[in-house]
């Protein structure tokens, strides 16, 4: 025991802050929220064990189902769109053009600022009745809707916002593209491969590990999106629940109604959903991801 301590104490010494953090702020909370998901709890009185009632309640909770629909639509539209733009622009910028650094900065700035309340506020003013988009449309004598107050369009303003922030994904793809060895392209040119062939048979396969990584992280983040939905709908998730992203619904249940048991159950369902989709992406990745060597 003493020997073990002597050989390991330094590592553990430096690891201590992280270990404490892991225990106190991650592991214990996760286990506690699992327990709470089987209770009714409003933080003022003690938790009351109610078994799987919370989970059954979800099945008939219209708002829950609505938030699922909205969140799925949001994630599965915005993530592929965002990745596509990121890849497209990265491809275009992946050449020796003058002003590359400037263009790269321009496309990245939305990503830098995009998570802020300020940008969500801007977005409200872009898409409301007197907003910038409608001002622009009025030039062509088109009268625009109040995009953020119309149930069929409100979610798309959120989707556009997420896609607008593709700059960080673009940076990652740019770095990945740079790592594709030049000699692969040279060999292909000698063999007479067209530019398109080069793209599909060299470029795409070589960056697929990066695409996979980026795809998963972007998807996980998209599932947790909160600020834009909150600000643009002013906390309501409206109109008529069309912007009720999952995080927003969880926040409502947990922090405006203080139904913390139910909110904990919602949190665990989210965790399970994310895990499932991540697993699906991983399992199908074998078909399209190419690993060297």
């Amino acid at each position: 025991m003493k020997k073990w301590l002597k050989e390991n104490w330094e590592g553990y010494l430096f690891l201590t802050p992280w270990l404490i953090g892991l225990l106190v702020f991650t592991i214990i909370p996760i286990l506690t929220s699992l327990y709470l998901s089987f209770t009714r709890y409003n933080i003022l009185t003690t938790p009351e064990f109610i078994g799987v009632d919370n989970y059954f309640r979800m099945l008939s909770d219209k708002d829950f189902i609505q938030s699922l629909k909205v969140t799925f639509k949001f994630v599965f539209l915005s993530v592929p769109l965002r990745m596509s733009f990121a890849l497209l622009i990265a491809m275009l910028l992946n050449r020796k053009i003058r002003g590359l650094r400037f263009y790269r900065a321009v496309y990245y700035v939305p990503s830098l600022l995009g998570g802020s309340v300020a940008i969500s506020i801007l977005w409200r003013q872009l898409f409301n009745r007197e907003g910038l988009l409608n001002q622009f449309l009025s030039i062509f004598k088109i009268e625009g809707l109040n995009w953020i107050a119309t149930p069929s369009t409100a979610l798309y303003t959120l989707i556009i916002l997420l896609v607008w922030q593709f700059g960080s994904s673009m940076l990652i793809f740019l770095a990945a593209l740079k790592q594709v060895p030049e000699d692969l392209y040279d060999a292909a040119k000698i063999d007479g491969a067209s530019k398109l062939r080069q793209f599909t048979n060299i470029t795409l396969p070589m960056i697929t590990p990066m695409v996979l990584f980026n795809l998963i992280m972007t998807m996980i983040n998209a599932f947790q999106s909160f600020t834009p939905a909150f600000i643009i709908s002013n906390g309501t998730g409206g109109p008529v629940g069309s912007t009720l992203l999952y995080s927003l619904y969880l926040y409502k249940r947990g922090f405006t109604f203080f139904e913390m048991g139910y909110a904990s159950a919602l949190a665990w369902i989210l965790l399970i959903l994310i895990a499932i989709f991540t697993a699906i992406i991983f399992w199908t990745s074998g078909k399209w991801v190419y690993y060297e060597g």
Binding site: G11, F25, S33, V117, L122
Partner: protein, 281 residues
Amino acid sequence: MKIKKYINEKLFIHIFIILFGFIMIYPLLWMLSSSFKPSQEIFNSISFFPQDFTLENYFIGWEGISGYTFRIFFTNSFIITFAVVIGTLISSSMAAFAFSKLDFAFKNVFFVIMLGTLMLPYHVKLIPQYILFNYLGWINTFLPLTVPRFFAVHGFFVFLLVQYMRTIPNEIMESAEIDGANTLQIYWSLIMPLSVPALITSGILTFIWTWNDFFTQLIYLNNVTKFTVSVALRMFVDATSGSSWGAMFSMSILSLTPLFIIFIFFQRYIIQGITAGSVKG
């Protein structure tokens, strides 16, 4: 003929990149220009440049909410953000040093766990954390927002620093050991100075993410005096009378300015930080 096609293609790409980039940036430019227009003009005239250039929005906006000016909100944001940056750098670098340079039992297990936390949604930790902080009486203080960061709860920065520290040759450490340095000295006087670029990147990214943070600030800060810029800005949205739009824009621009300044000066570090660890080597 081939050269002409080549030039055309390059030109077309250039034009597309410039045009598309302009469209992307335009909303920001519009908000900037609108902040200098009187509120009535913002939504009534299409012209980009203010016809009636004015700074009044900035003065009105600064007045803030119910007598609390934005000086308080900016101060709060800065305090929290700086505390978080310091806490993150210290705790993450310690853990990264352990993972990358020291050997101990279960190291790989813990490393995998650390990677796992990167993908964990915050919701499953949120409510018990709130209960804990409530029990400690920390609600409506800065403590829930800052204290956890001294315990490296955001594994991303540990990961980023590990990747960087791994590139520091072990021989440097070994020769320091031969010279009689103990591990603490090696960490503080050798590895940390050599890791400055990664530390800067981590600090910058931490600053940006904390400055923009809204959700945790929303649930833990209930009193106007404690509000950060994010939470205070949200209050503007509630008061949606036309006259406050200019003030809303001006304070929004102000809130984005620190981020923008950081970006101008530290662009290189930000970009390295985002691509680090996601690209091999």
